[in-house]
Symmetry: C3
Subunit: 215 residues, 3 copies
């Protein structure tokens, strides 16, 4: 793109960091939109937020495609190609699970959303912001590896919290809800949020591996 | 097998292409049988088509095993071993999802199948035939890469269509069906068809990667 | 750890074998606890066995982390690193599916458990013990490869049996159970056991690959 004469003298940020950082932005964006979506009061709002989420999901797909192509085409990868590949795939998984939550909410129209859904969506947002911080620290990995390790640990904790909330939600759901169709709906919708934090933890694990190898 | 004196003078088609092509045939076969199965009018017919599908699934397992073993034993792979491995795995996934659809249909005996199931099954058949064309073009990759890229793009479009049909089906299902057990059954059965087109798109993505590397 | 003067003269068992063997022990332990759990008569017992299973799951996570780190840090791996990596992941999957079964049983409190759940849990236990035998034979692979191949074949047979039991269970469930909520519960709980044997078969496939390469 910028291959004109002057760009030769400007140090170019490694393309991988740019793409991964854009993917992290999409994760944060989709996590915020998801909270708007599942707390929206009218069906029109739900449809609107869902379609914005769908746009972010498409951006995520394009970014994943670019990263995978870069891995085949270029010679200079800052880390093991396999780690970058897994990182991109798991980041895309976070987006996919969040967008599945919003889509199911829109399609199923449950009678009402339990307060646990809001709690889980907030945890997902927290995970998204943690991923963004970790990814944006990767290009200065050697300066402060402890900081990145701390963020990976935080993703693990978020997953544990999310696991516990989802578990308690299910116990309550099967104890209190007598309408099987509502059970199907809510179980499916909140499941995606719990899995979004699982994928976020996987992102943390890959980043942890990179820290071990390169810090 | 054909290592007699004369076979030495016959150019041998690369074993990978033969095995992948046989796997593609099994996909097409299972997609056709699935349409017969889910539109069959008697339980005997359903059981019969299910058992034919099960046979194709076994053939797929044997082929996958052969391909994986070839990757360890032989020196000449036409493409990256990892790509061939992924290709075989995703092709087997297509077979597995289609056969799960038929098996669930047989096991669950839903009261009636929605017209969307037929639409999805036709898309799956279209995807199967597209995979077959793409696989059979792989050994002449350099001659016409645009053609293969076009087929990969088609697999992506089929997945998008299938996604939309499944989504609309779910919206209708939760709006109209009041019997929770029927919801469980139909949601599960059609889910497998939607996922068969997902796996078909994955096949397309791997083929696209091979085109980028070798065309 | 044992890097004192004398340990230099003691032949050290390859660390991978030690870790994989500990993972196999955790699988056997969790399979046994699961049988206790799903046949327990009081809710207190169910909660107690569930929490013991959770402990084993944590041990599995720690072992998986150690194995993955060893793969990056050390030079001497007895087999292809990718095979060891897949082996550890699939072994952990066996633990995860078994512990999901127990957790769901505890959370959902189904009215009663079908006899098929006991049959499946026994098959899972059989698979766990078979994995343990195969793993513990890996360090003497060249002495008796036929024995290991036989154990891998056994894991495949167990999966086929488990598939058939789960299938018949579903047919009966949808024919006889009229309470949709009970269907959701039992289908989900037994699904995990069927998937535990799937993962056990994957373990067998990876071991089979190792035998082909190194025996």
């Amino acid at each position: 793109m910028n291959n004109n004469f002057f760009s030769m003298f400007v140090p170019k940020k490694n393309e991988y960091f740019v793409l991964l950082s854009e993917m992290a932005d999409a994760i944060v964006e989709v996590a915020n939109l998801n909270i708007e979506c599942i707390t929206a009061e009218t069906h029109e709002d739900i449809v609107e937020y869902s379609s914005k989420i769908r746009e972010q999901k498409k951006i995520g797909s394009v970014l994943l495609g670019k990263i995978v192509r870069e891995l085949h085409n270029t010679f200079v990868a800052p880390f093991d190609r396999e780690d970058i590949n897994n990182l991109a795939i798991y980041m895309k998984d976070v987006i996919d699970h969040i967008s599945s939550c919003a889509k199911r909410f829109m399609m199923y129209s449950p009678k009402n959303m339990p307060s646990d859904s809001r709690l889980l969506a907030e945890l997902v947002k927290d995970a998204a912001e943690t991923i963004k911080k970790a990814i944006n620290s990767l290009d200065m990995l050697k300066k402060n590896p402890q900081n990145i390790t701390h963020l990976c640990k935080k993703l693990e904790n978020i997953e544990n919290n999310s696991d516990e909330i989802y578990e308690n939600f299910l116990i309550k759901l099967f104890k209190e809800e007598k309408d099987a169709i509502e059970i199907i709906k809510l179980k499916d919708i909140l499941y995606e949020l719990e899995h979004a934090t699982d994928s976020a933890e996987h992102v943390g694990k890959v980043i942890g591996t990179i820290v071990v190898k390169y810090a």
